[in-house]
């Protein structure tokens, strides 16, 4: 089957892509660029980096801007998926949803309306296991956003490794935060992955933070040989 992956540039959509590509054909990526920082569906820092990631994956990318207003943004997503169907003859959509029934339900409904298959290969996956699989599969992932106590700017731009997974799991036990960021506690950006033909090198960045909230904004990046 031919699939499009809803791709935010973070670890979950990348891992979902890798799992889908092991079983079916991934034909293109779809990225929603939301103007609304509070969007439950799409907002993520560094969404612009998906252009470079698509080039690294050698996959076409459908980008669609959305105001990010509740339910209106779903019409924009529907339009982007419809375009992927028209242009690349996709038969289904893959997402990186793990726990969010809110997101899964809405995407399932859109796919059903368009008579497309929909799969969530990370669905209900244990979060520590998900982080460990990210490492096992050789993804290079950095923290590009923190949004919960006791996380702060010291986490921003750091690569997820075994030590960091240990720290995140400890924070889950102490403060109840979700280690893989399911509750929006952290956002991530993938700089390298097994299907990347080249890796992403960050040339310039900016850190904006205020207490327990902050983003690592990539201002300039390029593809380099692996």
């Amino acid at each position: 089957m031919r699939f499009a992956v809803l791709y935010s540039g973070g670890k979950d959509s990348m891992l979902a892509l890798l799992k889908a590509a092991e079983k079916e054909e991934v034909i293109c990526l779809i990225s929603m660029i939301s103007k609304n920082k509070e969007s439950y569906m799409f907002h993520t820092p560094n969404i612009e980096i998906t252009k470079l990631q698509a080039r690294a994956l050698e996959l076409p990318l459908i980008r669609r801007l959305t105001e990010g207003k509740k339910e209106e943004e779903l019409k924009d997503l529907r339009e982007a998926i419809r375009r992927a169907e028209e242009k690349f003859k996709i038969e289904g959509v893959v997402t990186g949803a793990v726990e969010s029934v809110y997101q899964a339900e809405r995407i399932q409904k859109i796919c059903h309306e368009l008579r497309l298959w929909c799969f969530n290969p990370l669905w209900k996956k244990d979060q520590e296991e998900l982080l460990e699989e990210t490492m096992r599969k050789g993804l290079k992932v950095i923290i590009s956003g923190v949004f919960a106590y006791p996380l702060d700017k010291s986490w921003l731009g750091k690569q997820i490794d075994k030590e960091m997974i240990g720290k995140l799991v400890a924070l889950q036990q102490e403060y109840g935060i979700s280690p893989s960021g399911e509750g929006g506690e952290i956002e991530t950006t993938v700089l390298d992955a097994p299907l990347f033909k080249k890796r992403i090198e960050i040339m310039d960045f900016n850190v904006e933070s205020d207490g327990n909230s902050g983003v690592f904004q990539i201002r300039k990046a390029r593809l380099t040989e692996k």
Binding site: E105, C118, F119, W123, K125
Partner: protein, 180 residues
């Protein structure tokens, strides 16, 4: 040993992660399990297991419903069986209950209509299906949504079907099935 039956369109599909593994993770601390695709099961295989769970599958996946003869063993099975979503549809078809169009996606209120050991009062559950069943006289309806039957039980056997996905929300229902 529990048998989890993979009801996806083919063995080793992308649906395995979403519809089979969450069931395995619901029971992993309770008892050992084996996962097999429905197309590779024989009657002899079934007899080796203490209880059986049939998984769900994707909304567009109708493959299993065109191969219902592969589930003839359910008709004579004396072990406890729990069919989830497509699993309930398959159980329904085996016991003479035709499919009935009923689209439900997302969290839905489930109302219990008959006393049973799996759930006791109204609750919300995650749904992902376009068909329910029209239960035959061999099946009791245990629960309903506003639109259609949500859970059934064979009148004489420990064979249950739930249309919603207890592996997504309400995992205690799977654990109670394990205690039957």
């Amino acid at each position: 040993m529990i048998l989890i039956v993979d009801m996806n369109y083919r063995k080793d599909s992308v649906g395995y992660y979403e519809f089979v593994l969450p069931i395995a993770s619901s029971i992993k601390d309770l008892e050992e399990y084996t996962i097999r695709h429905y197309s590779e099961l024989s009657r002899t295989d079934i007899d080796r297991y203490s209880r059986i769970i049939l998984s769900g599958n994707a909304l567009e996946d109708k493959q299993v419903l065109t191969q219902i003869e592969d589930f003839a063993w359910v008709g004579t099975c004396e072990k406890p069986v729990l069919g989830i979503c497509a699993g309930m549809q398959a159980i329904g078809l085996i016991f003479g209950s035709p499919l009935k169009r009923c689209l439900e996606i997302g969290m839905t209120v489930i109302k219990v209509v008959k006393r049973n050991p799996l759930f006791f009062s109204s609750f919300k559950a995650y749904e992902l299906h376009s068909y329910s069943i029209q239960p035959s006289e061999e099946l009791d309806v245990l629960a309903e949504s506003e639109k259609c039957p949500q859970a059934v039980k064979h009148k004489k056997k420990e064979i249950y079907g739930v249309l919603f996905h207890p592996e997504v929300r309400n995992r205690e229902i799977i654990r109670r099935f394990m205690d039957l």
